[in-house]
Amino acid sequence: MKIKLSKSDIDGALVTQISKVSGEDFKQCYQCGNCSGGCPVSYAMDIPPSQIIRFLQLGRFELVMEANSMWVCVGCLQCYSRCPKGVSAANILEAARQLSLRKGTDHERIEDLPVSFLKTAPQQAIVCGFRKFVS
C-alpha cells in the first residue's frame, strides 16, 4: 500500500470524529502491539487492533471502516486492560461501530438469526448483540 501523507490526513475530520466519539487520543498509542497480541479475536480481524489505531494515526479512516475488525471485536477489554498507555482499542472499535450504525445501517438483522439460537441463548447475548450490531 502507498500512502501520501499530509497534515490534512493526520488531522482529518473523520479521524477527529472517531477520536471524539471513542474518547481516545490516537497519539497516545505507541504501537507496542500488546492489544493485538492479547486480543482473542485479532486472528479473525482484517486489521488487528493496534494497526487499526495506526491507520487512524495516519488518517486512514476509510481503511478502518472497511475492515471487519469492529464487528469481530467482542468487547472483552483485554486490549484496554493490558495497554501500557491506557488506550482502549475496544472504545475505538466501538466508536467505529457507532459511526457505522448511526448512519442507520444495521450490521445484523434479527430475521437472519437461527431460531435455535434465539430460543436457547441467554437474553443478555441477544440484548448485547443487538446493541453492538443494530442501530
Binding site: G23, V72, G75, S81, N91, A121, P122, Q123, V127, C128
Partner: protein
Amino acid sequence: MLKIPYYPGCTLSTVAKEFDTSAKDSAIKMGFEIEDLPQWNCCGATFPLTPDNIMGLTAPAKVLAGAEKAGDTLTTLCSVCYNVLKRTNRVLKDDKEKLSTVNEFMEEEYAGGVEVTHYLEVLRDQIGFTKVTEAVSRPLKGVKTAAYYGCMLLRPFEDMGIDRAEAPTIMEDLLKALGATPVFFPDRVECCGAHLAMDKPDIVSKLSGNVIDSAAREGAEIIVTSCPLCQYNLENTQAESGSALPIVYFTQILGLALGQDEKTLGFEKNKFSPLALLRYKELL
C-alpha cells in the same frame, strides 16, 4: 437476618433461573437474604464503550435509582449485569454532568448513593469465607474444580476492582472454603466469545474451546462460572467437541456443599451434570 437488595437481571429470571435460586437458597443457609428489587428493568447487557453514548447509561441508571430506594448496596450475580451496573454507577458518581443529563431521562432521579457489589464479594467481605466453611455440610473433598472468570467480572480493573484482574483468586478461595480443590488454569480470564455466539459461532467455538482445553489439561473435573453467557458458550462448544466437563454456576456448587437437596439446584438443565461425578466420588 441481613437482607441485601438484589438485581437478578433478565437472564437469571429466565434461562439461568438455577443461578438465581441456588444463590438465594444458599444465602439463607449462610444466614442472609438477597431480595429482588421490587421493580427492575434490563441493564442493557453492555456497558457503552463510547463516552458520548449517554443513552446507554439510562437503563442501568434506572436500576440504580430503584436500588437507591431499597438501600445503599445492590448485589448481583450475573457478571455482565455486575459489570454494566458497576461501571455505570462509577461514571455517574464521578461525572455529575452526566448524572444530571441521565436524570433528565428518568422518572426517578438517581442521587449516586448505591454501592454495587457482586454476590462473591458479599461472601468474601461481608460473610467471610470462614463462615461459609462453617456452613458447609457436604464438603466437596477432592473435587477438582476450575473457576472460569471470563472478562466482565474483572475488567476493567480500575472500575471493577473485585480482585486482581490478571490473577484473581476470589472464586478459588470460595472453592477452597467449600472443601473443593481449585484448579488454576491459564485461560481462566480469557474471553469465551460472548455475544459473537449470535453471528460468529465459529469464533466462539474456538475461544470457548481454548478455555475448556486449558482447564481440562490442568485436570479440571468441573468448571464454575458466574456468567450465563460464558456458561452457554462453554457448554455449547463442549457439546460440539464431544468433551463433557460439567459447566455450572458457582452458586450451584455452593448449594451442594451447603447440603441443599441436589434436585433443587437445577442440574437437570445442564448438558453435563456434575452429579454423577460427585456420586462416583461418594460425596453424595
